[in-house]
């Protein structure tokens, strides 16, 4: 499974919504339940799913889902 598909599952899990289809341009504004708390939940869930760790600054600089995918690939050595 590629990063995007796997990330999509994490998104559906965290936001408890089976209809979510992530896109590269997607941001927190596109998902109603995406607030500061679910954001951290998301980061923690992604760390668990992909077996990697993100620093505060890395998470702070993310602008959209596309950048998140790139970060995950870089961390897991898929890039």
């Amino acid at each position: 499974m590629d990063t995007k598909a796997k990330l999509n599952e994490v998104f559906r899990d965290v936001f408890d919504d089976e209809t979510i289809e992530i896109t590269d341009e997607m941001t927190a504004d596109d998902i109603d339940a995406w607030d500061s708390l679910t954001h951290v939940q998301l980061v923690v869930a992604v760390e668990e799913a992909f077996k990697c760790k993100f620093s505060t600054v890395e998470v702070m600089k993310l602008k959209n889902v596309g950048e998140f995918i790139k970060l995950i690939d870089r961390k897991t050595g898929n890039a």
């Binding site: 708390l37 951290v40 939940q41 923690v44 505060t56 600054v57």
Partner: protein
């Protein structure tokens, strides 16, 4: 033992600052290529002249240069790298050094160590924020090819406009803005706008906030004469409201003066206020008041704390984790504001305030649903209640800032 130096008085009301306010726009516009060097020299000269002793100078150099030199070694390349230990050690030492230099009077261990008040230097508490930002962001800054030189670093941390009380800029933000070649040159109108901003800033600080401060002191002095508890409470509220207004006008006026001054030199400072007393909850208040501080604590305290909590002890109860993280964050922010116990109470109250506002919002959302909650928020009595409650809560918590309320209560108990 401690040699007395020039000890320049430096505040926005000082002659030195007034002169710089007028001279700097002219100097900084002499030649584009010289800007950073002129600013560098002025920042160093101002900072040096304010030092209280040679020892303070030595400590200040150490305090400022160490993060610059250490930043490359704090980059976390692999799990095994030395930075894994170095990084936490660096920040712990920095924190201990800060607590010692600030001389927190309720941390008993510091009372047993020798201490000279003359060691404290200008802007110590704000330097900490900038240095943490620089070292934390270093890896990212290198990646993004953001300009990093010792001149820019010194200009960032010692920027004489912001050294006294912020706004807390980020390194990337400061440098990007400083070298922004596409920024239009100031025309006559823009200069007049900034001059107005500076003048009104001074009016806010020296006229409006002085009045408020006078009223606050007046009512504070009257509390003990109240006679009964109900009267004392009313007088205390009056004191607290005037004190909160004093803090607001003093800080907002200061920000106007320094932002206007910096703008005349072609620098854009971050806005620190967005009508804070229009807020309807403590959470919203902190998004509108001292914004650069709120954002800094969000990024460097709240985010790591909540991440630790919800991936560990609060895995089952995320909301509890969020509340705990908010409480810890605002407690620390409160303690940072001042060195005596009053600021601990202030921190506790701020923490409690944001937790209450989060719990209330979550309860109401559960009760009415997300859509129903939006409708509920539009009702007039709710609007009035939320505004009044927030203002009152802010005033009561701020009453511990600048006044020794604890001492006052202890004397009478």
């Amino acid at each position: 033992m401690i040699e007395r130096l020039v000890m320049l008085n430096f505040s926005i009301g000082s002659i030195a600052f007034g002169v710089l306010l007028i001279v700097m726009p002219l100097l900084m516009n002499l030649k584009r290529e010289w800007r950073q060097y002129i600013f560098f020299i002025v920042n160093i000269v101002v900072f040096t002249l304010t030092l209280k002793s040679v020892y303070a100078g030595i400590i200040a150099v150490f305090w400022i240069i160490t993060p610059y030199l250490m930043a490359p070694f704090l980059v976390q390349e692999s799990e095994k790298s030395i930075s894994r230990f170095l990084k936490p050690l660096f920040y712990i030492l920095m924190l201990v050094g800060f607590l010692y230099l600030m001389h927190y009077d309720w941390i008993i261990i510091f009372k047993k160590l020798p201490y000279f008040a003359a060691l404290k230097f200008l802007g110590l508490s704000y330097l900490l924020f900038r240095e943490v930002d620089y070292t934390m962001q270093y890896e990212y800054l290198r990646e993004m090819k953001v300009r990093i030189t010792i001149v820019d670093y010194i200009n960032y941390v010692l920027n004489f406009y912001t050294i006294m009380a912020g706004p807390i800029m980020r390194y990337e933000e400061f440098v990007t803005d400083f070298y922004d070649s596409e920024k239009p040159a100031l025309d006559g109108n823009a200069v007049m706008d900034q001059a107005h901003r500076i003048i009104f800033g001074y009016v806010k600080v020296y006229v409006i906030s002085s009045f408020m401060s006078w009223f606050a002191s007046y009512w504070f002095g009257r509390i003990s004469e109240a006679g009964n508890l109900a009267k004392a409470v009313i007088i205390y509220v009056l004191f607290a409201v005037f004190n909160a207004l004093f803090i607001y006008f003093n800080f907002v006026g200061y920000c106007d003066v320094v932002a206007g001054g910096a703008a005349l030199c072609g620098m854009t400072l971050r806005e620190n206020f967005n009508k804070p007393y229009m807020a309807r909850s403590m959470t919203e208040f902190w998004n509108r008041h001292h914004i650069t501080l709120s954002e800094w604590i969000r990024d460097y305290i709240y985010s790591p704390v909540i991440k630790k909590l919800i991936s560990g002890p609060c895995k089952k109860n995320l909301f509890a984790g969020q509340c705990a993280a908010l409480f810890i964050t605002f407690l620390i922010a409160g303690i940072w504001h001042g060195t005596n116990l009053n600021y601990v109470v202030y921190g506790l109250l701020e923490g409690l305030g944001v937790v209450i506002s989060s719990v209330r919002k979550s309860k109401l959302q559960k009760k009415y649903g997300k859509k129903g909650y939006k409708e509920y928020e539009k009702k007039l009595p709710v609007i009035i209640f939320e505004h009044a409650w927030t203002m009152l809560y802010v005033a009561l918590s701020f009453s511990f800032v600048g006044y020794d309320v604890i001492g006052f209560i202890m004397e009478r108990v």
